[in-house]
Chain length 380, copies 2
């Protein structure tokens, strides 16, 4: 059945359903073992056909209001929008709430909390919000167990146009860890950041319904989720080379690949030219700082097996340059113009974002379906 | 009229019509001075509302068959597809040709030339092709004045299903130049690569109708286009920080920007968090190797004026981290949550590709139009 792939035009985004389902089941079983619900992050997949397979009872996480509207249209009402809200998105957030979504907003400042309250009061609604906690000094959030956290929680709890729903944190720093032990330490730090803050708030009489942590590495290796009400993760559904570099998965767990064709052969330069450039692969170089630098992606044959150290060493808009990682010569005559290859991505979120749909295949290469994505930010 | 921008949702791609028209007119006037036609490359704009303003008598250049189909639908028939053809795209190329396009394909090997000939013979057409010449040792192409060039040209000229149309080269290496003199030398090398090869072929009785060169840097600074039949360029319409770093434009020529909102303020970390991450900006780091590293983009106020050394120093999917380039403290209280900013892009092609349309503005910030883009590769 490999001829199914051989008949396709390139470049094209492939998704192995077998690997997708295996990755989802592995994470489901792991978190079920801890008795903690999973709230899948749909920013990686942006496709109901993908994330519906990962749903439990804890709703979804989104990174855009476009994803939130898409999830609501597809029947999901429990939606955590895990990016700090800006005032110019509140009209749309109100519309989602009015249309039946329990859209939980994220704030990490009094200014943002006040803007949520104002928008809620103007609409005659109490807009629910969580406070983002900075567990890893990485990006957004107030410090764990800080006065700021207490002040914002009190404001939300008492507000006429907002309500306090709980706490969330994301240990994005886990992507920079160098060992499983480091990731475990990061997971514990992530957990403690919100659990300790929730305990502090509880002593002041404020209960946190949501105590949310999450990243694929910390969800994969965390040893305790005590006190946590839910875990968020998204990349784990597809996995990628960055996750493989972190030992969160094996190379043959990676469910996404970009189908490409050889369009040029340069024996003199020890390289091939393929029709997957940064437009098809993205410019993500997430493995650049890892032990094994995969360039712009790891090159596989049509069956999905890596080919002796070949990576995409450079990328222009519609051209990728393929060479050995070590720069050594290889037998380019095995790859004449027209040869089809598959490239495993550094970062599933970034590579998938360059495409408007998935071509879904099984491990034999048979075509099963086309699943569209909800890209972009939508009207505004 | 600045309130037009202040009322928009973020992130959003803005295009200044004033700057666009100025950039287009400057390049038009320059090449008209040399008497050489411009064949605009539409891979940057992917929008007829943009590239129609740059059209002359020499058709368009495309990087995908999706762009070719879009151009044909919009009335353009003279189309150079400037990426080496793979056999699995030939059915679609034949359909374009049958539908009235003069779609000129690109080859740099006998294998590719033979596949074009076969597809043409099967369809009862002679598919026109140019041979790509490698003028800068950068990517694709056969060597200038090489036996390979002669062999492929002879094959195409004699083929029943293909025809020889000429030569093309792209000095992508011009992006790595360090001075205007270097770019001028690169432009001359680019010109000589195709002009000398065309002369060699002419001595063998093969005439080259197309002798095509192009890149925005070499088109901007080249001192001779003698023997060249057309120049290709695309980025010049928008310009970007990479082009500014190469002295191809000034910062205030850059017509594209990403409108964004402050969603977090971290005085302790000397930074702001904005809602333009790599999804809105792209992961392109084209200025990383230039004299001035602009991070993921240069931060401007709502009127488009750069703000004292602020750049996007890091990017996650929907979060950008803004700090001073030198890491110094700045008065973050000037930028409370909700403040709107504009980010100038490193690489116009890459940033525009993250969006499905342009919000067109004038220099006062008034909204003029929405222009959609033809992203992706289309059916296949």
């Amino acid at each position: 059945l490999r001829s199914d792939l051989a008949a396709l035009e390139t470049p094209r985004l492939l998704l192995s359903k077998t690997r997708l389902d295996r990755n989802i089941e592995r994470m489901r079983a792991r978190l079920a073992g801890f008795g903690v619900p999973l709230r899948p992050h749909i920013k990686t997949a942006k496709s109901v056909e993908v994330y519906a397979r990962a749903l439990g009872d804890a709703g979804v996480t989104v990174s855009t209001l476009q994803e939130a509207e898409y999830a609501l249209r597809n029947g999901e009402t429990d939606i955590l929008y895990a990016v700090g809200i800006s005032p110019n998105k509140l009209a749309r957030a109100v519309a989602l709430q009015s249309n039946g979504a329990d859209l939980i907003l994220t704030v990490d400042s009094m200014v943002a909390a006040q803007s949520v309250d104002e928008a809620g009061r103007a609409a005659g609604l109490r807009l629910p919000a969580v406070i983002e906690i900075d567990s890893d000094d990485h990006r957004a959030g107030v410090k764990p167990s800080s006065e700021d956290a207490g002040r914002i929680a009190r404001f939300l709890a008492d507000a006429g146009g907002a309500s306090y729903r709980g706490l969330m944190t994301h240990a994005g720093g886990s992507y920079d860890c160098r060992s499983i032990d480091d990731i475990r330490a990061m997971a514990e730090r992530e957990r403690r950041a919100v659990v300790d803050t929730a305990a502090m708030l509880a002593r002041g009489g404020i209960g946190s319904e949501i105590v949310s942590v999450g990243s694929t590495p910390t969800a994969t290796f965390g040893k305790s989720f005590e006190g946590v009400s839910e875990v968020r993760a998204g990349v784990y559904m597809f996995q990628d080379l960055v996750m493989a570099g972190l030992q969160c998965c094996a190379i043959d767990d990676i469910a996404l690949s970009v189908l490409t064709s050889v369009i040029g052969v340069r024996a003199d330069k020890r390289r091939l030219i393929v029709d997957a450039g940064w437009m098809a692969l993205s410019r993500d170089r997430g493995t650049a700082s890892q032990a094994v630098d995969q360039g712009y992606g790891l090159v596989c044959d049509l069956a999905g097996a890596p080919i002796g150290g070949l990576i995409v060493v450079a990328a222009n808009q519609e051209h990728g340059l393929v060479a050995r990682r070590d720069g050594a010569a290889f037998d380019v005559s095995r790859f004449p113009v027209g040869t089809m290859l598959r490239i495993l991505p550094n970062h599933a979120c970034a590579t998938a974002a360059q495409h408007d749909r998935y071509t879904v295949i099984d491990e034999s290469g048979a075509l099963l379906a086309e699943w569209p994505r909800c890209n972009g930010w939508g009207a505004g």
